[in-house]
């Protein structure tokens, strides 16, 4: 993939090797350097162009540095600009040669023409060479006071560039103070905007390295004076600078509702701006201002609907995508407010699939009694779509709507009609859905099984679909006449099944079928167990062996383990916790909305803004990536257990919140995991993996197994002394997942010592202190007086984690603490530890 050269005047070689061309260029430049001949500038222009074009395609032309500098003594501004560009690009790797340019740049900084002054100053600041900073201070100082707005504009950002090269020089020269006064007085809006850019970045960076002053300066930027000053001038600013100001305003906390309404009235017309970025920034201000005013907040939703829809229709597909992502977020938060707008979310033929996908999710969310018929009819049209991924997605959407509705008759019929379409992928998706549907509405089994029974397993190839079919064959083998024979023939072709996921399900299905129709299944079971034990996949092997031993031990026990009576699943758990969703909402008008994850999940710490990560954890990679390496079978089961959270279990999990004691069946497997693994306990954990329904959807069978294993209830009263693992490991992704899955087991408010509150000027101080007490911080943020921390700790020698959300207000010296734990019963003990650690903060 060799990039061809831009065709300049000279015939360019098709494949520039670089070296000889660069040498040639150098030679020609040197000849021209001193030339004052007419036309010399034109020849120089051509040569410079060639140099720049080499630079663009990535050929290193830094060796021509001195020649370029020699040619730079010119009054031709086009030449000058090319030279500046070149110098800016290569100065950093040639600091010694960069010194050569200082002279002419400094001279240009004093030129009569303000444009030359500005250009030279910009280049001077862009050299990024640390040992040249001394030459920057004076030109920057005079640049900030220059008569031309252009030069001041350049100088305002020049200060920031200087800060990045040498923070101390920048601060010692007192440039931030100069910027601040310029910001509050300059008649030129872009100068003001650039001052604000620089100040924000400088103070934010300073604040992260423990500076009180910086925090105060940041606070000052959000002060009423500055906010009002900027708001009153907002129309003078360019649309981009308006976005900057609106972003600042969204962080301002008004003192009363009058102020809120004044601001909203002032900004009302910004919602009619043709630039989507301005509109979204305004919407963010509106949403944040009205957070505590429910009625007005809802009115804001109504108000912003039309402008958002117009933006979706107006721009390029890329621009609509960004707007649509935000609309998606709002729809997901308040689907009811959009239920009559469903037609806007119908997919259009020409839309790219990433847009269609968002729309399908929105349609799913807003479906309710009044519009379900229309929405499902529309979705069914997409199911036959030529765009297969979208067709699949549409079928899934129909299924999701079915799972969230009470009146599902019509939808079930439609799903069954999908099966009659006899398109492989449609059948595959539908089977998976029918399986989920049956888990929620077992009363439909009769209708569904009749149709599913007609599907030849030969037409089902996708592992997921095959697994779903197998699940149904096992679960409803008494109603499907030839279930044992289908299973038998599948067992005979054991080696043709490539996906371990399918083989695992086949084993379980044969087992279930055996308990219901023993004589017909016996042969198949024998064959399946033999094949399974000989299987090369560890999980399949283990499961087969486990079944085999379980059967050997006692057939009736085996039946209770593998095929217990099941309760219908009433609610499929949301995959994203409400904390995460709130976080994304707080980060409105940012990439978080497009990625549908909060910033800490995709940015590194220095780019995270006010919410930053603690040092040691940031270096760990986020869990999501490592999960990719997990073998597919495992992953499937993990997903399955994520999804399956019956309400009964939710209640059980919720219990400890009120009474603090915890005898939840859910904690059984994790505790057993920690103990030494006897064959039986291993078997039990496996059983939990194999069929999550067993452990999570009903509590009774669990107790039965516990008795069977002679362990009694695994949960013992809190041990007298809880010892924490001094070096627990939990990566952010895992923290995220746990936080989403676990319920709050303890919520308390406690007070800090006065000294503690006073010492808490930056999050870091407390983070270090808590680390000393074996409690690690995973994320922290906030501005004085409010700080927010997420901590975690681990019980020593066990896989029990404690997750803590701690919000501290330093002015009231109060801390709100929420604890989630793998084992709720010992969260009281942990709270005691946590609180004592917190109270010792800043005490000698």
């Amino acid at each position: 993939m060799a990039p061809p050269l831009p065709s300049g005047k000279s015939p360019s070689p098709s494949q520039p090797s670089g070296k000889s061309e660069v040498t040639d260029l150098k030679l020609q430049l040197r000849q021209l350097a001193g030339s004052r001949a007419p036309g010399a500038d034109d020849s120089k222009r051509d040569l410079f162009k060639r140099v720049i074009s080499y630079m663009t395609v990535g050929i290193d032309v830094s060796s021509a540095f001195s020649e370029m500098v020699m040619c730079s003594a010119t009054s031709d501004i086009v030449l000058k600009k090319m030279c500046y560009l070149y110098v800016g690009n290569y100065a950093r790797c040639n600091p010694d040669l960069a010194l050569l340019t200082i002279n002419f740049l400094q001279k240009d900084c004093r030129d009569e023409d303000p444009m030359i002054r500005g250009l030279a100053l910009r280049s001077l600041c862009s050299l990024r060479v640390p040992n040249l900073v001394e030459y920057l201070v004076a030109p920057l100082g005079s640049g900030l006071k220059d008569g031309s707005a252009y030069v001041r504009m350049v100088a305002a950002l020049g200060v920031l560039k200087l800060y990045h090269i040498s923070a101390s020089t920048c601060l010692e020269s007192d440039f931030p103070a100069a910027l601040k006064s310029l910001m509050l007085s300059d008649p030129d809006a872009q100068v003001v905007a650039n001052c604000l850019h620089s100040l924000q970045e400088i103070w934010n960076l300073e604040a992260s390295s423990n500076s009180d002053e910086a925090s105060k300066e940041i606070e000052a930027l959000y002060s009423k004076t500055i906010i009002y000053y900027l708001l009153n001038r907002i129309r003078e600013f360019s649309e981009w600078a308006q976005c900057l100001i609106l972003d600042l305003v969204s962080k301002y906390i008004p003192s009363d509702s009058n102020e809120i309404f004044d601001m909203m009235n002032l900004l009302e017309d910004r919602l009619q701006h043709a630039n989507g970025a301005v509109v979204l920034a305004t919407i963010k201000v509106f949403l944040h201002l009205t957070m505590s005013m429910t009625d007005v907040h809802q009115q804001v939703y109504e108000r912003i609907k039309a402008p958002l829809l117009t933006l979706v229709g107006a721009g390029s597909p890329e621009q609509s995508y960004a707007v649509l992502s935000h609309l998606h977020l709002l729809v997901m938060r308040a689907p009811i407010l959009f239920s009559s707008d469903y037609k806007h979310f119908y997919c259009q033929f020409s839309e790219p699939s990433y847009v269609k996908k968002l729309k399908l999710e929105m349609l799913t969310a807003i479906a309710n009694e009044s519009n379900t018929y229309e929405i499902v009819t529309e979705l069914c049209e997409y199911a036959g779509n030529v765009d297969v991924p979208i067709a699949r997605e549409s079928i899934r959407a129909v299924g999701k709507i079915a799972l969230q509705q009470y009146d599902v008759n019509a939808i079930v019929d439609r799903l069954l009609q999908f099966l009659e379409m006899e398109k492989d992928y449609v059948t595959a998706e539908t089977l998976v859905l029918v399986k989920d549907l049956l888990r929620k509405y077992p009363q439909w089994s009769h209708d569904c099984i009749a149709v599913v029974g007609n599907i030849s397993s030969k037409n089902v190839q996708e592992p997921k679909a095959k697994a779903a079919l197998l699940w149904m064959l096992g679960e409803y083998s008494q109603d499907m006449l030839d279930a044992p024979y289908i299973l038998e023939s599948l067992t005979e072709n054991w080696d043709d099944e490539h996906a371990p996921e399918v083989r695992l399900h086949l084993l379980t299905a044969v087992m279930k079928c055996f308990f219901k129709r023993p004589p017909e299944t016996q042969n198949a079971l024998g064959a399946a167990l033999a094949a399974g034990i000989a299987d090369s996949n560890q999980d399949v092997h283990d499961r087969a062996l486990f079944y085999y031993r379980l059967l050997q031990y006692d057939v009736s026990v085996a039946e209770r383990v593998v095929n217990p009576p099941k309760q219908a699943v009433s609610v499929f758990a949301d995959t994203q916790s409400s904390e995460i969703k709130d976080r994304i909402f707080d980060e409105f008008n940012s990439l978080s909305v497009v990625y549908q994850k909060p910033a800490y999940m995709f940015t590194d710490k220095e780019h995270r803004g006010p919410f930053e990560f603690s040092e040691d954890l940031a270096s760990l990679s986020v869990g999501a990536q490592s999960a990719d390496n997990v073998i597919p079978a495992q992953r499937y089961e993990e997903n399955d257990s994520d999804l399956l959270l019956s309400t009964s279990e939710k209640e059980e999990n919720g219990g400890p919140v009120h009474d603090g004691s915890a005898a939840s069946a859910y904690s059984a497997p994790s505790d057993l995991n920690g103990s030494s693994l006897s064959l039986n306990s291993k078997a039990l954990t496996e059983a939990a993996l194999i069929n999550p329904g067993l452990l999570t959807s009903t509590s009774e069978p669990t107790f039965a197994i516990d008795d069977l294993l002679g362990l009694g209830l695994p949960v013992t009263p809190a041990p007298p002394a809880l010892i924490l693992n001094p070096k627990p490991l939990l990566d952010p992704g895992a923290f995220q997942r746990k936080w989403g899955q676990l319920a709050i087991s303890l919520s308390q408010e406690c007070s800090l010592t006065v000294q503690g509150a006073a010492a808490l000027t930056t999050p870091q101080a407390l983070i270090r202190h808590m680390q000393g007490n074996s409690i690690q911080c995973i994320a922290s943020g906030g501005r004085p007086p409010n700080y927010k921390f997420f901590f975690f700790a681990q019980k020593d020698g066990a896989s029990v984690f404690f997750l803590v959300e701690c919000i501290i207000n330093t002015s009231s010296a109060m801390a709100q603490i929420k604890i989630k734990a793998d084992d709720g019963s010992i969260s009281e003990a942990f709270y005691a530890l946590f609180q004592s650690a917190l109270s010792k903060f800043s005490l000698p």
Binding site: S238, T310, Q319, S353, Y595
Partner: protein, 451 residues
């Protein structure tokens, strides 16, 4: 803030590459291109405009077959980046006259000049073509417009699905005319993208118009302009729906759901007499964007029929009727119809005396394609096709085919009936009488008939 900005050709070559902050490794352009080219995530085959690789966010728009890309490590506003990239493309086009790979390669130094002023240290500065004029010293090397593929309405489609480039105006805002004097002129284009979905019984399921009033001014001295729209134009359907229905049945009244305006537009008298006042900046920009879901008469009626004709055979009948005045002619019409996946062959039969029509059976995507150069208002065209199958069709053949999708451009036609009543330019002298061009064009965005 923006860390890097670059423009890549379709083949992935760097045409322009500017690093503003030095935070992102140099190989980013290659990483980006590879990711976009071989996108395979979430089952989708098309890379979304925003994605993250190893902590670097890549944000891009596609214009004229080129990738305009920005990278950043911060959690920025995606809208701001995408709007900015689109704007950079537009400003570049204002300067070069024509935006394509060739013109960009010839003028890359000028583009660097622009980029220096548009973004400083990753922060957007100015994107106004007019303000930029005083900082740009390179003369654009104009690409010979004659050597370009004709910029007819057909090529408007090829450049992305939604946006139509400034119609045929390929003059740089800074280039001088051969005569030395600039021609005083202003273009106002009312561009409407319409989306209609017909049910199998021909009933309109959904319809929407996304319109833009686009302006491109070559007037010197920035005179003030008044643009008058329909007097009875009303905005917002949120009032009583009964009222809106009554109005639409009464005919004539244009009801927009919503609209937005360019910064330069003053709306002081808009509420009173529906006129927009503005001092148009140089270059191309959207004066107003609007959206309408009020019912309108769709320009085309489409009928499609597929019937089995013996074993392994079926017949398709496609009929298109132009429901607009005979004085108007639609052009570049493409009608596409997916057929059952087991179709192996298709033979076509055009109507007698058909001119400028071509047919094709796209083997790979299994669809029939019928292209018509033009359709005159009031006329009707049919196409018959015989399909051969490799296997028996099971069940309902209607469910295996369609929906029919149509693409077209109709110049001097607008579906919404939104009109520019007059375009007034503040006079500098008695003899000052610049050319004004007010043009209408309607395009299909998503024009679909289900079987």
């Amino acid at each position: 803030m923006i860390s890097q900005f670059f423009v890549l050709s379709q083949r992935g070559d760097n045409i322009v590459f500017r690093d503003y902050r030095g935070e992102v490794p140099k190989g980013s352009a290659e990483i980006f291109f590879r990711k976009v080219k071989f996108w395979k995530e979430d089952e989708a085959e098309e890379a979304p405009p925003v994605f993250n690789v190893d902590g670097v966010n890549y944000i891009h728009v596609k214009v004229a077959g080129l990738f305009f890309v920005a990278t950043t490590r911060d959690n920025v506003s995606p809208s701001l980046f995408l709007e900015l990239l689109q704007r950079i493309a537009r400003v570049t086009k204002d300067y070069l006259g024509v935006l394509n790979e060739d013109s960009l390669r010839k003028n890359f130094v000028l583009v660097y000049e622009l980029l220096d002023e548009v973004i400083d240290f990753g922060y957007p500065q100015t994107t106004s073509t007019e303000v930029l004029k005083s900082y740009i010293f390179n003369e654009p090397i104009v690409v010979d417009a004659a050597r370009l593929p004709p910029l007819g309405p057909a090529s408007m489609f090829m450049q992305g699905t939604k946006r139509m480039p400034g119609t045929a105006v390929t003059k740089s805002v800074v280039a001088n005319e051969p005569g030395g004097r600039k021609r005083e002129e202003i273009f106002v284009d009312i561009i409407e993208k319409i989306s209609v979905t017909f049910s199998s019984s021909g009933y309109i399921l959904t319809s929407e118009i996304d319109g833009t009033i686009q302006m491109k001014s070559y007037l010197t001295g920035n005179p003030e302009i008044r643009l008058a729209l329909n007097e009875d134009l009303s905005i917002g359907r949120n009032g009583s729906s009964l009222y809106a229905d009554y109005r639409s049945s009464g005919g004539g009244t244009v009801v927009l759901d919503d609209c937005n305006f360019h910064e330069s537009v003053h709306l002081d008298s808009f509420d009173m007499d529906r006129t927009l006042t503005l001092i148009p900046p140089d270059g191309e920009f959207a004066v107003m964007n609007y959206r309408m879901t009020q019912e309108f008469k769709p320009p085309f009626r489409v009928n499609a029929l597929i019937e089995e004709a013996g074993s392994l055979k079926a017949e398709v009948l496609l009929k298109v009727r132009a429901d607009f005045s005979p004085s108007v002619t639609a052009n570049s019409i493409i009608v596409q119809m997916p057929v059952p996946s087991y179709t192996t062959r298709a033979s076509f039969e055009l109507e007698a005396g058909a001119v400028g029509q071509t047919t094709d059976f796209k083997e790979g995507s299994k669809r029939l394609e019928w292209c018509l150069k033009k359709i005159v208002g009031g006329s009707e065209h049919t196409l018959r096709a015989k399909l051969t199958f490799s296997q028996e069709s099971h069940g309902n053949i209607m469910k295996e085919a369609g929906p029919v999708n149509m693409n077209f451009t109709i110049p001097m036609y607008n579906a919404s009936k939104l009109q520019v009543r007059y375009l007034q330019i503040a006079k500098k002298s008695k003899t000052y009488n610049p050319y004004r061009w007010v043009r209408y064009v309607t395009q299909a965005n998503s024009y679909v008939a289900r079987l």
